[in-house]
Symmetry: C2
Subunit: 328 residues, 2 copies
DNA sequence: GTAATCTATGAAACGCCTTCCATGTCAAAC
DNA sequence: GTTTGACATGGAAGGCGTTTCATAGATTAC
């Protein structure tokens, strides 16, 4: 299918070659900045491109090279600030390396993630960054042969690159910190019940109590806590308890903010009656003075992109810092 | 460049044709679900594809078709909830139509937006949705010939599709509403000083006061207000005023939330001392009971994608509804 | 002075799929 | 009994760069 061009037809490399009186090879060399082109011919080619208003057919380049300079990014929901920040970092870095991003919003549906993996297989994207995995490792492992896959969770033991946080340690630290402040009845709010990160956190919690030979209350565990609004039902449930927790580890500042907001409106003193530790250090945590673990999400996004471009396998662990503010 | 394949080489359509004993045309027909293929051959082809673990080279398809099923989306910052919600809508709808998104974060740099326009020209994307424009109309107009361009602002008079809000009317309505509540000293907080949407709002403001032969105070106008944190400096400035505004039109719920939060912490009564009207109806507005104009951002994103796919030119105007809560 | 390099250049192969056009069969229509 | 149209199938012409290989003159090396 020929392309429209002002006054005729979109020029292609052949036309340019003819116009400049050289071979297509030479034009290609000029196009790609290869050496071994005489100054005279280079100029003739540039002139011809100018005259014909030439633009490379990028799809032909992709076909020929077998690469697209496109990198896939899978996020469950782009509206969640956590993922927004990661994508921001990825996008910032992508520009520098002349990559573009293909955004795949998975809604945590395996099928959509599979779609993204398939794009990698079909070489529509050069690499894939999975910000929160839905597919099983078995499936992901099948696709590593087609290109770099980067995950934001502990990927050691798999042929992927990964950049992940020390959730076990952070949770342990948070628990110790709260214990130091006299809290024994500590609850937590997680996002997905059985995500890799959640598992890590739950083991940290279990171990913390087991190591001390103490029992813990299953009512203090909340799942599917992801957004502001979730603060409300969490607190409603806590209010109904005979023996409510005195502290809450909340793995998203959004949820922490929702909880805190509810408390303020309902006269529940924070940290007096309820201490709150958030995660992420999002703007809202700063605004509401929430004590939280800082996660350098933008930076993580950047590094993920670099890993994607680099292609060599690596595993980076990120240590989180606790920022003490006013909710503990 | 041949592709690796288990035990040899990635099969291509020719291999399949040979394996199935048919022509490549027939294979292509099966691949694309065209009619006029006998059941026997169709099955033979499917069998062959199975055997050879065939996958189409998507880049070849793109080259051949001159389309990529990719749609570009330009947003200044993906972390801003406003754009996050729009992109969410776009992504939701894109999946249904089997389109993927290429995300271009412009940071309001014209060059990056130009990059996106260039992708359209090079047919790397089939259409482009510009959520907040940076380039001049002259430039955009040049690129409409290469494919559908959709803008989220009033695009009437240009060869683009557009979906936009009645900002003039909404602002007028908000002002009337506040006046009805006894407010004369009304200020506003805008994002970019000279964006199309801001201009609309400023004219509404000016007209409102001019029509009444009243003067207005230039100190009451705040620009570059986009995120939570901006609430603070806005309020700091207001606190320093001898004659501060009694009401504020804030064109982002994020900023409104920041302002409200500051007020609560500093004993400024809302709406007693300061009334606040937000825009967007984001989750945070619901949580903080902010009176706000609802903008159906996700739905707008959806429609934008539909316009992109559809390709026919259209201009949709969206009317905003005021949601009365507790800040006026 | 001759071998080894470097510089320049182009033909042709390669990446791979879609689609137009031509051809042929078979059954329904008149 | 012939015409018409639906159904089937394949050849070949696109769509367009990149890259390998071959060739040859110009230098440099020893």
């Amino acid at each position: 299918m020929q392309q429209a061009w002002e006054g005729g037809i979109m020029a292609n490399i052949k036309d340019i070659a003819k116009l400049a009186g050289v071979s297509v090879t030479t034009v290609s060399r000029v196009l790609n900045g290869h050496p071994y082109v005489s100054k005279a011919k280079r100029e003739a080619v540039l002139q011809a491109m100018e005259t014909a208003d030439y633009e490379r057919n990028i799809n032909a380049v992709h076909l020929s090279r077998g690469r697209t300079n496109l990198i896939g990014v899978v996020v469950p929901y782009i509206t969640r600030p956590y993922f927004g920040m990661v994508v921001e970092g990825i996008a910032d870095e992508a520009i520098k390396d002349n990559y573009k991003l293909v955004l795949i919003q998975s809604n945590y549906e395996a099928e959509r993630e599979l779609d993204a993996l398939m794009m990698l297989k079909l070489k529509q994207i050069d690499a894939l960054i999975i910000c929160s995995r839905t597919c099983s490792w078995e499936i992901v492992d099948e696709y590593v042969q087609y290109g770099p896959i980067i995950v934001l969770e502990d990927g050691r033991g798999h042929q992927v690159s990964s950049i992940f946080m020390d959730h076990y340690q952070s949770f342990t630290r948070a628990l110790t910190y709260l214990r130091g402040k006299g809290h024994y009845k500590i609850g937590y709010c997680l996002a997905r019940q059985s995500s890799p990160n959640s598992n890590l956190r739950e083991s940290a919690y279990r171990d913390f109590y087991m190591n001390r030979n103490e029992a813990y209350n299953h009512d203090y565990m909340f799942y599917d806590c992801v957004q502001l609004e979730d603060g409300e039902w969490i607190m409603q449930r806590i209010l109904k308890m005979d023996d409510p927790p005195t502290a809450l580890l909340v793995t998203s500042d959004q949820v922490a903010a929702g909880i805190l907001s509810f408390c303020r409106e309902n006269g529940i003193e924070v940290p007096g009656q309820l201490a709150i530790v958030g995660f992420d250090n999002q703007p809202i945590a700063r605004m509401m003075h929430i004590t939280t673990f800082e996660i350098p999400l933008v930076e993580i996004g950047r590094r993920a992109l670099l890993q994607a471009v680099d292609g060599s396998q690596a595993h980076e662990e990120i240590h989180l810092n606790l920022i003490e503010r006013q909710t503990v």
